[in-house]
């Protein structure tokens, strides 16, 4: 993977590339990225994006093969719960981020890296705070 420090291992590199692909995918569809890899406490939110009155917290999941199921299945209840909590903390620290917002969503962007070019799928409102 050119352009990244070579200390990065293959798994991290895949994740990074997938996030890039997801970000591009969102931007092409009119989303404005507010933040990438936003650190909240000890956790991290992959992408925070805004389009119109919708604020989306996007979790990016990449897979090379589909032997372990679809990428979005890897976002298990524990992970969902964690993302929801981080998102609430992120909003709490920036109340102005809700200005003009009607809907807050948790989306998943899955990246299938087993094909070239990689296939990107966007799942809007993939989950909520209660699962």
């Amino acid at each position: 993977m050119p352009g990244y420090p070579c200390r990065m291992n293959a798994r991290q590199a895949l994740g990074r590339a997938a996030e890039d692909a997801a970000a591009r995918h969102l931007q092409e569809r009119g989303w404005r990225l507010l933040s990438r890899n936003a650190r909240v406490g000890r956790g991290e939110l992959d992408i925070i994006a805004r389009r119109g009155t919708v604020l989306a917290f996007v979790e990016v999941k990449a897979r090379r093969t589909s032997t372990c199921g679809a990428p979005e299945d890897a976002v298990d209840p524990r992970k969902r719960h964690q993302i929801a909590r981080l998102a609430e903390l992120w909003i709490a620290a920036r109340p102005w981020a809700l200005e003009g917002v009607s809907d807050v969503r948790f989306d998943i962007v899955s990246v299938d890296a087993g094909v070239v070019p990689c296939r990107v799928r966007h799942l809007p409102a993939a989950f909520t705070c209660d699962g």
């Binding site: 009607s102 809907d103 807050v104 948790f106 909520t128």
Partner: protein, 522 residues
């Protein structure tokens, strides 16, 4: 309900009226929905049970499948008052409506015209499923002056039995929204109670099918005429159950008010068939002898009416009487005495009506053939004693008539003279009850069985030879004072059937004959 958004145009609060049942009584519940832009979540507060919590999934699917939007926002639903436990799926509809109003997808059209309440369970496809207890809910709403009720179409016939309440049936969530936006719309026609009662009367098993058993038939007629409890003793297959099943058919027809009362209990128990919204025949309940005391008198975590309440204004038939659990039999004492049953739980105390006629049946001994004309009893004497001893004195004491039901001989079965029909017997019963009502006017009782000892002294006139016979019986049979009262009560019923103004020796003699039989005790 005014339903203005906040100045920011963001959070909106919506309110829909609904109703919760505890026992047979309804309590008002206000369903509030608050929708705000925040991390998406859907929570229900206000002491909901598991079924109400699951309502979230049904509401979500029903809304999406009814072509409405389920926006990604924070939704909080409150069921007020918060200290009343909310149970069951009947809040699905008001929750969905409140949600749609709060998200601006529906408008409450009831402004200034009096509110309408909503109850109903939702299917995932947005269809409305019937709920239990619609009649009780409707009555309660009417009493509180609520204008109308939005409910599943399958419950409409039942709810429209309540005069003065507008009933808006819906098959789907979309139907319900249309009614809400119109502030009502087209109401279901009110039910014609008299017509329903007329149509439903007359079916059911008839006494004409029973050959022989003249003695038992007479005893049952007396028992029904005075609402006396009765114990039938006889060998297996003698026809005890057949006789008992025919009792509702010779009882006076249900009045409109009584039919409503019975229907309400069946509705709350979820036993009302949708195609027959009104119970028109007196109930006949025959629980198996393994029934628990809760099953018999009602109760459970969410108290439900038991068999004794389901038999309200009808017959409770307990076959194999001594085989019932002692706890179940003893639990019968209060309802037999008071005509209602009170169930106390940690948070609530509920009363269900239970004015029944108890018909018990038993074999004379464990093998069933003690005293039979042809077959020998094979039971050792101590087993016979044990069997009879399972029935406690206080319980037997509440049974006025005991009668033997012997096996019918083939000769009797071939009797060419047809037996009397239920209709003929019922006519006599109705006449006797009318006589009683006139005499009992002002005492609160409606039949001879419910006279107090004082009523017996002041209202029952026994002729001189009757008194002489009673005195002899008192000495010879060692009757207690209470037993004497009961003999007089039954004799009064027999006299009423006779059309006699006073109780004669013949009436006393027949009455005494019903005490000497059956379990053998006096």
């Amino acid at each position: 309900m005014p339903n203005a958004g906040s100045p920011r145009g963001g959070p909106v609060l919506a309110r829909i009226a609904s109703e919760a049942l505890s026992g047979l009584e309804g309590h008002p519940v206000e369903v509030e929905a608050d929708v705000v832009a925040a991390a998406p979540a859907f929570s229900i507060v206000g002491l909901p049970d598991a079924a109400v919590q699951e309502s979230r999934e049904r509401v979500r699917a029903a809304i999406v499948n009814s072509a409405f939007q389920f926006p990604s926002r924070r939704i909080t639903v409150n069921l007020a008052p918060a200290d009343l436990r909310k149970q069951g799926p009947s809040f699905d509809l008001p929750i969905a409506l409140a949600f749609l109003v709060a998200t601006g997808q529906a408008a409450d059209g009831c402004d200034g015209r009096g509110r309408i309440a909503a109850v109903g369970e939702l299917g995932l496809d947005g269809s409305l499923r019937p709920v239990a207890g619609a009649l009780a809910l409707a009555q309660s709403l009417r009493r509180r002056g609520v204008r109308g009720l939005l409910l599943p179409a399958a419950n409409a016939a039942e709810a429209s039995l309540v005069p003065g309440l507008e009933v808006y049936p819906g098959r789907t969530l979309a139907d319900a929204v249309a009614h809400l936006e119109a502030g009502g719309g087209e109401a279901a026609p009110p039910a014609d109670l008299e017509a329903l009662l007329r149509d439903g009367d007359g079916d059911g098993p008839d006494l004409v099918d029973i050959a022989g058993q003249h003695h038992a038939r007479r005893a049952l007629e007396v028992a029904v005429a005075g609402a006396h409890n009765i114990l039938l003793t006889g060998p297996p297959g003698a026809g005890k159950t057949m006789l008992a099943r025919r009792l509702p058919g010779i009882m006076p027809p249900l009045t409109a008010a009584e039919a409503i009362e019975v229907t309400r209990i069946f509705s709350v128990a979820g036993l009302l068939p949708p195609e027959r919204p009104l119970v028109t025949r007196r109930p006949f309940r025959a629980p198996h002898h393994t029934v628990s005391s809760v099953g018999l008198v009602g109760g459970g975590g969410t108290p439900r009416p038991g068999e004794v309440s389901l038999a309200h204004l009808g017959v409770l038939f307990l076959d194999e009487f001594p085989e019932f659990r002692l706890s179940a039999l003893e639990a019968l004492r209060q309802p037999l005495e008071d005509g209602e049953i009170t169930i106390s739980r940690r948070l609530t105390s509920l009363t269900f009506p239970a004015r029944i006629m108890l018909v018990a049946a038993m074999n004379p001994c464990p093998c069933g053939y003690l005293g039979d004309r042809e077959r020998d009893c094979t039971c050792p004497a101590h087993r016979v004693r044990q069997y009879a001893a399972r029935l406690s004195g206080p319980l037997l004491d509440r049974i006025d008539l005991r009668v033997d039901v012997p096996r019918v001989t083939p000769r009797e079965r071939r009797d060419p003279v047809p037996a009397e029909s239920s209709q003929e017997v019922r006519a006599r019963v109705v006449r006797a009850r009318r006589t009683q009502l006139r005499r009992l006017c002002g005492t609160g009782a409606y039949a001879n069985a419910h006279m107090t000892p004082r009523d017996v002294r002041t209202l029952c006139v026994v002729e001189r030879d009757g008194i002489a016979l009673l005195d002899r019986a008192y000495d010879r049979l060692r009757l207690s004072a209470r037993a004497c009262d009961r003999v007089v009560k039954v004799a009064q019923t027999i006299a009423d059937l006779d059309g006699a103004g006073t109780i004669g020796a013949g009436h006393i003699a027949e009455s005494l004959s019903y005490r000497a039989r059956g379990a053998g005790e006096l």
